[in-house]
Amino acid sequence: MLFGGGLLLALAQSFGYLPIIGKTDFSLVAWQSIFQQTEFWQSLGLTLWIGFASTVLSTVLAIVCALLLRRQFRGKKAVTFLFQLNIPIPHIVGAIGILLLFSQSGLLARLANLAGMINDPAQFPALVNDRYAIGIIAEYIWKETCFIGTIVLATLQSVGEDYENAAASLGATRWQRFRYVTLPLIMPSVLTASILVFAFAFGAFEIPFLLGRRFPSALSVLAWRSYTDTNLALRPEAMAMSLFIALVSTGMILLYMTLSRKLVRQ
């Protein structure tokens, strides 16, 4: 009820219904306004990039890690523990870590300077608050790889290697076993986990706020700026943007699921 109520209120406000400033008529002005803003489309592009890049890279890395951790090797327990250690650590801690390490005033920049690789820390490549949102994506990869990997590893351990053995016996090479057997087996858990990651990366606010550029910013940051603007008349736009994030997120998840399933079936 709380969620539904909030959604309805956001919907009403996005259509201009804001009695606090005397607006009681419904209109599409806020929606039309955001769609006419260049900044909105640039923010959308950046947010989609962050969502897809973080999800795809985390998923690929997670699958590789899970496949490696499934094997028997000395120190496996310790490595698995370290791999899963990130899960309870909050995103904000990761963001601060990224800032301390990768920013142009960070540890790596200073070390590179000390080592004589660059003349000034400012010459260090911009990896934080940068154009391609590398810092944001790196933080999501750091945090989400272990999340997806843990789920995939659990699936791999529960299904065992019998299906892969059957495929090997039928003539499937290592790559074919991965492509035609392992991938379809883990796909349901990969899809579930990566959808969660995409939805989070697309809609999250604090990491793009801390590690992103001011212009263009992620959609959530843009919506937040409009929402907290002293001009209350901008609030319908903030609500329209927030709802748009939810809509695009849902649409992308559906598309992602359809495409992934198709890919696996081929």
Binding site: N165, L170, Y180, P184
Partner: protein, 343 residues
């Protein structure tokens, strides 16, 4: 047709300490050989070694005198059908059967046709578009068999192919395996823990205990000439009389028995339940007993007898007819010389 030869093959599992050591066996071409034994005897390990799913610690494995020890499973041509089918649930029946052909790069139309043909052979024509979840256990087992056969393997490996099926389906599947094997003439290795299954299916049986080969031969050998008491017991032997050989007679606590085969170090004689007969008068190899128990087994009667001279000696006999003897009544049993096995 391929001859499979295992020479001093050794596989050790360091964690459990279990091993198959210096295993030697020649599996004849174009026939069915059963690897028989109780759980943990090493039969599945041997099957996986032949399939290439496990690597031996030492020894050699050859297909037609060519070593395949370092050949990966996918290039070995030994296809395994697993105990729990392992039909890929995300593929249709047709796609499952054509899987091996797809991995070999066979064109789609060709592999679909071949899959249809082999499905007809396993009596599943028209099932190619169904999902495995829509099939019964027996049908899934046939899909698994078809999937293996369609690749025309050098060696077909069947891991407990009937163990998950009920009695009726077992019968059907057994007949199907036998007829397909005869038709394709593929060297086939069947792993089973069920001696009856091994006897019906196989041309030869290799009996394993604790990772070692105890006896190898034709199914009848295991009934007529078991090499040890353990082998005889595994094949349903229940009657063992302790003693020792004195010239041509076997001396026991219940008297002397004439035996036809002499084995100097023998400590037991054995006789199968169906070979024990009732005797009318005391002659050679007769024994005075008292009936302990009579059980109707559906198609035959089972009798348990206690020797009069040695109450700890219990013998079991079977008969298709009711012997009309009451429990605790005395009787005379005849243990025919030619049926006595000296162990």
């Amino acid at each position: 047709m391929t001859i499979v030869k295992l020479t001093n093959l050794t596989k050790t599992y360091p964690d459990s300490g279990f091993s198959v050591e210096n295993f030697n066996l020649e599996i004849p071409a174009g026939e069915i050989t059963a690897l028989l034994g109780p759980s943990g005897s090493g039969k599945s390990t041997l099957l996986k070694l032949i399939a290439g799913l496990l690597s031996p610690n030492s020894g050699d494995l050859t297909f037609d005198d060519v070593s395949v020890v370092s050949t990966p499973a996918e290039q070995r041509g030994a296809v395994m059908a697993f105990q729990n089918n392992l039909v890929f649930p995300w593929l249709s029946v047709g796609e499952n059967v054509a899987f091996g052909l797809k991995m070999r790069g066979v064109a789609k139309a060709t592999r679909q046709q071949q899959a249809r043909d082999i499905l007809t052979l396993v009596q599943l024509d028209g099932f190619e578009n169904r999902k495995p979840s829509e099939l019964s256990g027996g049908q899934q087992q046939r899909v698994s068999l078809a999937r293996a056969l369609v690749t025309q393997p050098k060696v077909l490996l069947l891991d407990e192919p009937l163990s998950n099926l009920d009695a009726h389906l077992r019968e059907e599947m057994r007949a199907l395996i036998k007829s397909l094997q005869e038709q394709f003439e593929i060297t086939t290795v069947v792993v089973t823990h069920d001696q009856e299954e091994a006897v019906i299916l196989a041309d030869q049986i290799a009996l394993l205990f604790d990772g070692k080969l105890h006896q190898y031969g034709q199914p009848s050998d295991f009934y007529q000439r078991p090499v040890s008491r353990r082998v005889a017991e595994f094949f349903g032997g229940v009657n063992f009389i302790e003693g020792q050989l004195q010239d041509t007679e076997f001396e026991t606590q219940v008297g002397q028995f004439s035996v036809s085969n002499l084995k100097q170090a023998a400590t037991f004689i054995s006789i199968r339940p169906e070979h024990i007969k009732l005797a009318i008068e005391t002659t050679e190899n007769t024994l005075e007993v008292r009936l302990l128990e009579r059980t109707f087994m559906g198609t035959y009667y089972r009798y348990r007898w206690q020797a009069e001279q040695a109450p700890t000696l219990i013998l079991t006999s079977t008969n298709t007819q009711d012997l009309s003897i009451r429990v605790s009544e005395k009787a005379l049993l005849h243990l025919p010389k030619e049926q006595l096995i000296v162990l």
